[in-house]
């Protein structure tokens, strides 16, 4: 079978998909592209609407393809784009051995055995590594056509659009200002009535003010307030009052900080919505961090608004700047879409670059470049003697922060009289209470290193490296 643009166009399910695929032929959108000449396989990772890139694999011998995006079209625009780039002789494809998820697809494909035939109008069988959740198509769209400076009509149209956007931005800013004023009044009402009463009725009180925030376009703030009761109820009763003081204090600090700098991208993100991925990819100022990245954990939570928030946590083992040591890839999708498998598992490593959303202490990121080759060996960096200094630094820079990733040195788990589990540093004696008891065998092992999320009261372990030698 020929492998050229014409053949790929024939395999596309409709002209719109092919056009959308052409729109994704942009190397900046593809942190990873690789091929294996012997098998005719090509694969890559494409930045889609989520933080985790979509994994795409295609067989150039029969145009069979598979993508982890939720599109029902087959092949999807990502697969088409990958094939188009290869067919056009793109030199960005590194020659490599197929990774496990590619081999897995090949294995499950079972040519001629009842599996999905190449270029058939149905998705191929799903696999653990490449999910095909039946949800609405991804939100990324082909790039806008470039503006012709000699076309007065187009220029006028663009100017009108810019004016509309500016007007909308101003309306939104005013709405957010109103939301901040309402929030401050609400916080004071809670104080006036006593925080014991607030705690007794936190669920409905927070739900009501969260709805008001959502009405005022403060979507992120609304979600944060909606989740506050769950964070408070996770604490032991005797710690909830203190928890409420912290929660309300942080909300006030966030609202005041935004009022002082409404254009600040981090504050706008905390209040309303994040900037688009494309604008991030095009940004020259966005911080970048290269090195050997290790996936620590994937945390999936169902939010009150019915959405699923999936965060993949990464640690840069070779980071020069400790402030860019951790990265969080965040995805949010509707619960109705079902469980979506994350492309990374704890312990996976790769060499590459993360592009961070601008912030005082950048954390949220996307993968901007990834080397398909095995990363060089690297060990975990040394942790500061007092692990909480990492959280304190973050809180001093951004006092509204809820969770701070921290690196922990050698230590082990211990139990208190109530059966609650604590992590204790081997050196210095720092102790931190855990949000959940670890798996039982870990209680009997020394930990050479660990990483967790500190929320001001509890430590949620992301990864822990037990000392294997002690049990073999």
């Amino acid at each position: 079978m020929a492998f050229d643009a014409q053949a790929i166009q024939s395999a596309a399910p409709d002209p719109a998909s092919f056009k959308a695929g052409q729109g994704l032929v942009k190397p900046a959108k593809w942190p990873l592209r690789a091929s294996n000449a012997a098998s005719g396989l090509i694969w890559g990772e494409c930045q889609g609407s989520g933080a985790n890139p979509y994994r795409v694999v295609a067989d150039t011998t029969d145009l069979g393809a598979k993508c982890s995006c939720p599109s029902r079209k087959f092949p999807c625009k990502h697969s088409i784009a990958l094939m188009l780039m290869k067919a056009a002789g793109d030199s960005g494809f590194a020659e490599a051995e197929p990774p496990d998820w590619v081999a897995d697809w090949v294995g499950r494909r079972r040519k001629g055995s009842g599996g999905a035939p190449a270029a058939a109008p149905q998705p191929a069988a799903s696999s653990a590594a490449i999910s095909a959740a039946p949800v609405a198509p991804a939100e990324d769209v082909p790039a806008e056509p470039e503006l012709d400076p000699n076309d007065p009509k187009a220029l006028a149209k663009a100017e009108a659009a810019a004016k509309r956007a500016a007007k909308l931005a101003e309306t939104n800013r005013l709405a957010l200002e109103g939301a901040c004023a309402e929030l401050e009044g609400w916080i004071h009402d809670q104080i006036r009535g006593g925080l014991t009463l607030f705690l007794d009725d936190a669920q409905s009180r927070c739900r009501r003010i969260a709805a008001r925030m959502a009405d005022a376009k403060a979507a992120a703030l609304a979600s944060r307030i909606d989740e506050a009761p769950a964070r408070l109820m996770a604490l032991p009763t005797e710690e909830r009052l203190e928890g409420a003081v912290k929660e309300l204090g942080k909300l006030l600090l966030l609202a005041r900080a935004w009022k002082a700098a409404p254009e600040d991208p981090e504050l706008r993100r905390e209040m309303a919505t994040a900037e688009t991925r494309d604008s991030l990819l095009d940004s020259a100022e966005a911080p970048r961090s290269s090195g050997v990245w290790e996936a620590l954990a994937v945390i999936t939570r169902t939010r009150k608004d019915g959405l699923i928030a999936q965060t993949s946590w990464f640690l840069n083992l070779t980071a020069e700047d400790p402030a860019l040591r951790f990265a969080a890839l965040q995805d949010v999708f509707p619960a109705s879409a079902g469980r979506r498998s994350a492309p990374f598992s704890a312990g996976d490593r790769f060499q590459g670059e993360m592009l961070f959303y601008p912030a005082k202490r950048p954390l949220r990121a996307v993968i901007s470049q990834r080397d398909p080759k095995e990363p060089p060996p690297a060990s975990w960096p040394a942790a500061p003697a007092d692990p909480l200094t990492q959280a304190t630094e973050r809180l001093l820079a951004a006092p509204w922060t809820l969770d701070s990733p921290i690196l922990l040195g050698p230590g082990r788990y211990l139990s208190d009289a109530r059966g609650r589990v604590w992590w204790k540093a081997e050196q210095g004696g720092a102790v931190l209470p855990l949000s959940e008891a670890p798996e039982k065998p870990l209680m009997g092992l020394r930990l050479t290193a660990a990483a967790g999320l500190w929320n001001g009261a509890r430590l949620e372990m992301l990864a822990a490296a037990p000392e294997w030698e002690s049990v073999s």
Partner: protein
């Protein structure tokens, strides 16, 4: 010290519990928070919350205790590369028996599971012995004592470890075991009383009568009393009848004897149909009282002939011959029994006590049985691997290639790869099970050869159904050779 931040924050918290707290703040703070009123209250809560986060940290209210370190095992863990495949296999095996066979396979290859992938529960009796230290750790016990079980060290054992040690003691010194049980019995839980009294079946004798009579009369648990009654009934049977009389009674009531064949030389036994529970109990008592020697004499043949002629495939009475054979059988008799069992239609026979019988044979004797065993089809992973004895993960390709299991696997795979759909005589779920069984049977060379064969047929090496075969092919036996 009201001027100290922690004291001041404590005062503020108490105030906020019921309302505003500005009036409770130290004067210096209130002045700094000018202009007062609502704004000052809001600033106060923001600053207090921030101070609580960055200036204070939780501390335990009492001392923290450390768990005993997870003990070392005598074999190394699976490597990181193999753990992923092992976890996938474990996830697919919801049945405990399958999981235990997988662990047996690993142990046979000189490897153990990583503790973050699998650890035994405190009462997990069926696991390979290499995991015993972890089972003790899970039960919160120190390692078991080096010396034999005694009244002095009784509490130092885990429940499972104590049970095994007691069974060993009963086999070696039945009187000492009885004396120990008598001493400890009153303080035991009903569950443990039942469990340990049941082990008196081994070497049951008149010496046990007084103890059993005591618990029959006084024990608080009905099931323990019931057990004592059953064991006493067996003793009564032995007392009333000699082995010859018990054998005669058994044949009279339950067994038909025939000679078949042209020369009427082949001994054939079958059961008269008596299905009530009481008859079953009587059957058990009679067969135990008779013993192999008297049964063979009554049947009119040798012990070996008796083993071969016994209707092992009878679900009602057939299996009760097995404990007798396990206790009194000679290796050639056990081998003959296993050959009979393996040669039968697997749907007609259970695997009850088969692994224990295999353990009584030498490696060479077990090997001689493999060709018969491999002709069996439609066995589960657990059943097949539990029958392999010492040959788990060691079966040579030459032997397996001739087997029904291999032929069926190849035929099913061929049909699938050619898109012919499932073979009518073999349900499709059999193929993954067969491939897994093969994965646990082969030696390393055989596993590699099988993978090559399947790849030539067109099956991708990445197919998850080949996980155990691939793990097998990757796990070399070098470690075993270095640590016999």
């Amino acid at each position: 010290m009201s001027g100290q931040p922690d004291f001041a924050l404590g005062e503020l918290m108490s105030a906020w519990a019921s309302g505003p707290a500005l009036a409770s703040a130290p004067a210096r703070w209130a002045e700094a928070l000018a202009p007062g009123g609502v704004e000052a209250e809001l600033r106060l809560i923001a600053l207090a919350g921030h101070a609580l986060e960055v200036g204070f940290r939780p501390l335990p209210s009492g001392p923290l205790t450390e768990s005993r370190p997870l003990p070392a095992l005598s074999l190394p863990f699976l490597t990181e590369a193999h753990r992923l495949r092992f976890r996938r296999l474990l996830k697919d095996m919801s049945y405990g028996g399958d999981r235990h066979q997988l662990l047996r396979f690993l142990a046979a290859r000189g490897r153990v599971a990583h503790p973050l992938d699998w650890t035994p529960g405190p009462n997990d009796d069926e696991i390979p012995a290499v995991y015993a230290p972890w089972r003790d750790w899970a039960a919160g016990h120190a390692p078991p004592p080096e010396e034999a079980l005694s009244a002095a060290n009784w509490e130092d054992w885990t429940r499972a470890g104590r049970r095994t040690a007691f069974a060993d003691l009963r086999r070696a010194e039945s009187a000492a075991a009885l004396a120990l049980l008598e001493a400890k019995f009153p303080a035991l839980k009903a569950e443990d009383r039942l469990d340990l009294a049941d082990l008196l079946r081994q070497g049951l004798s008149e010496a046990d009568r007084a103890f059993l009579t005591g618990i029959q009369a006084k024990d608080r648990a009905p099931n323990v009393k019931q057990l004592a009654t059953a064991l006493l009934a067996r003793l009564d049977m032995r007392a009333e009848a000699t082995p010859e009389a018990a054998a005669a009674q058994l044949f009279e009531e339950f067994v038909k004897t025939e000679r078949k064949g042209i020369l009427k030389r082949a001994l054939t036994l079958s059961f008269k149909k008596k299905r009530e529970e009481a008859a079953r109990e009587r059957f058990i008592a009679l067969i135990e009282a008779a013993g192999l020697e008297a049964l063979a004499a009554k049947a009119g043949g040798s012990r070996l002939e008796l083993v071969k002629a016994w209707p092992h495939d009878d679900h009602l009475y057939g299996p009760f011959f097995r404990p007798l054979l396990l206790e009194q059988g000679r290796p050639e008799e056990i081998k003959a029994f296993l050959a009979e069992i393996f040669g039968m239609d697997q749907r007609q026979t259970s695997t009850h006590l088969v692994p224990e019988m295999m353990e009584r044979l030498t490696e060479a004797e077990q090997f001689e049985l493999l060709p018969v065993l491999f002709q069996r089809g439609q066995l589960s992973f657990d059943e097949h691997l539990s029958n392999l004895g010492l040959w788990i993960g060691r079966a040579p390709m030459a032997l397996v290639r001739e087997s029904r299991l291999w032929r069926q696997s190849v035929a099913m795979l061929d049909a699938e790869l050619k898109g012919q759909g499932p073979l009518t005589q073999l349900p499709p779920h059999l193929l993954p099970e067969h491939l897994r069984i093969l994965g646990g049977m082969f030696d390393q060379a055989g596993a590699r050869e099988a993978l090559d064969d399947f790849a030539r047929m067109g099956l991708s090496p990445a197919d998850p159904r080949l996980d155990l075969l691939t793990l097998n092919a990757d796990l070399n036996a070098d470690f075993l050779e270095a640590h016999p």
